[in-house]
Symmetry: C2
Amino acid sequence: MCNRLRRPIVQYNGILYRKEGNMSGTQTGLSENLTIQDIADALNISKTTVSRAISGKGRIGEETRNRVLDYIERKGYRPNPMAKGLANNRTYNIAWVMPGDSSFTELPFFQRCMSGVIEEAGNVDYDVLITMIYGQDNTGLKRIISNRKVDGVILGRTLVNDPNIAFLKKSDVPFVVIGSTDEPDVIQVDNDHIKACRELTEILIMKGIRSIMLIGGDEAHVVNRSRRAGFESAIENMKNMNISVKSSIHMNIDNDSMTARLVDDALHDGVKCIICMDDLLCAYALDKLHRDNIDIPEDVRVASFYNSELLHNNVPAVTALQYDPLELGRTAAGKLFSLINGEEVNTLTNLPYEVLLKGSTQ
Amino acid sequence: MCNRLRRPIVQYNGILYRKEGNMSGTQTGLSENLTIQDIADALNISKTTVSRAISGKGRIGEETRNRVLDYIERKGYRPNPMAKGLANNRTYNIAWVMPGDSSFTELPFFQRCMSGVIEEAGNVDYDVLITMIYGQDNTGLKRIISNRKVDGVILGRTLVNDPNIAFLKKSDVPFVVIGSTDEPDVIQVDNDHIKACRELTEILIMKGIRSIMLIGGDEAHVVNRSRRAGFESAIENMKNMNISVKSSIHMNIDNDSMTARLVDDALHDGVKCIICMDDLLCAYALDKLHRDNIDIPEDVRVASFYNSELLHNNVPAVTALQYDPLELGRTAAGKLFSLINGEEVNTLTNLPYEVLLKGSTQ
DNA sequence: TTGAAAGCGCTAACAA
DNA sequence: TTGTTAGCGCTTTCAA
């Protein structure tokens, strides 16, 4: 059951005759598995001409082209991607690579990036194949590459000394990363986290805050290092302006109890502002503060270096940096298609960000 | 830049000679783009023989086969999927279709199902192409189907009168749905929600609860109708046993304020147990109860027809039904590959569930 | 047990 | 402007 239709081949005297036309009066109203040969036969022209009409490459008479295009339109012809792929050495697929650990996979960030990638791919009739990296295990990616299942790859995030980047560089497949890396010659699409975090931190300090705690995530992730660097650079800048700020930084925090403990410490030490590197950490911190009936912003201010739905229902609204992951995905895919088409692409692209100043730091 | 290697074709006197061997001393240690012809040449046998050694089909000498397999192993040969696909009329890809509205995409449920699908696909050297349905808009799915980019499709959830199921049935592409449907002849993988919800409801009633409110989601989703049916059937059963239970059902609830209002009503009406159809609704309800300082289970008991991380941090722990989405994904993919290989597959598969009785209904 | 050759559906170089 | 033909890398039929 469920076999695709195949044009019947009829055999007489050991000679193969292809049955003319196509056999389907289909339910979808589309002729299935029509080939350019069928079209050529129907219009009394050659395959080449049909191919030219479709691709737009090579000279072809205006009238002939229209005849072909009309016919194709009417019959709902779609080229066979396998055949095209074989002839062009292309798959018309790209890969989207994202972390497989559920704590990351489920972050809206990656979902949105992926949507952007899919959207952009659809525009050029490409599809998106998905694979996950589970910790160190990138067998999925390796399979896809060595099987030559895609024309390019988008890496959803970057690690410090990223083994996947190293692998992709060697693999000779075009790729783009969402995020930043020190690795040279890698096409990167990112937000300028250093600048954004510096800006937000400086704004808070300018508001008079003189004691800040920064709660940060896994240092293996480039983005977390960038956020830290932005924060530190703000503190440094202020110092140069003779504004001295007491600050502490706590990295590699990844669960609610660690966060709660830090929040306790902060309150105990008279910290006036807690900045969290991402939405999840911030949600943990807010949770803890609410449980303890601490008033925000009266008792302590709170800000997040990444905004998301997780923070949307909080009262008061949370000051945060806002990015557009959908656009990151779209842009990365756009760059990748340029690469695939052999165009030059600049290495670094920074997308804009917004600083949302809300009640939590009033 | 970044173009794939192509074997150089050298032309003398108008005759094309393919340059022997392959040109790469590659960084990956794998010979790239080796073909069966190259292997045949190297071993002084024919393409056909090589093909036979690889596929295992057709007669071939033990020794020849081993020579070929050894060579392939050493050189890291991987067949070109485009060429194989063209010859076999296969793509070696399947599609995973899930709702694109962010409120759904981001549910852990779909992520896990997808992981299961990807895992199972990897086992048979297939890859997973992803597409999303945005409300009524299934152009992505249509593109994939009419472009013949996949050998089969897995639909991540079912709707009442699902237009995607109708579309796929007409399309002649094998497909499996995760969820249930009234549509005949559709391969379905699901949990028995009716039975599970009936069971949990009956257990709660047996514990002495005589007034229950059910808060449910979108009735366009088959799963929500099933959960409702299970609940109703429990009430009915109890009635037949002369246990009369006061109950109310509220469907199509999809945000926190609607939920909060219902919780208010429940408390006002002396409802003793609030059951939510899914994790998100339950999280909304718990939020509201905590804000109002209502004691669980003393003042009101709470249960959920779907367990997830969203409920894990609640105190007390929440009574809920538990499923294994990863296994749903794996199973659905397994069925799909059977279909693709022309095997018979039974239409209905129900995976097990667990009833977790926790503190929230003590 | 092995090989020659045709075919999958498309592109592109060359000829007309 | 159009057609002929070879080729992409694999499978499969038929013959040896």
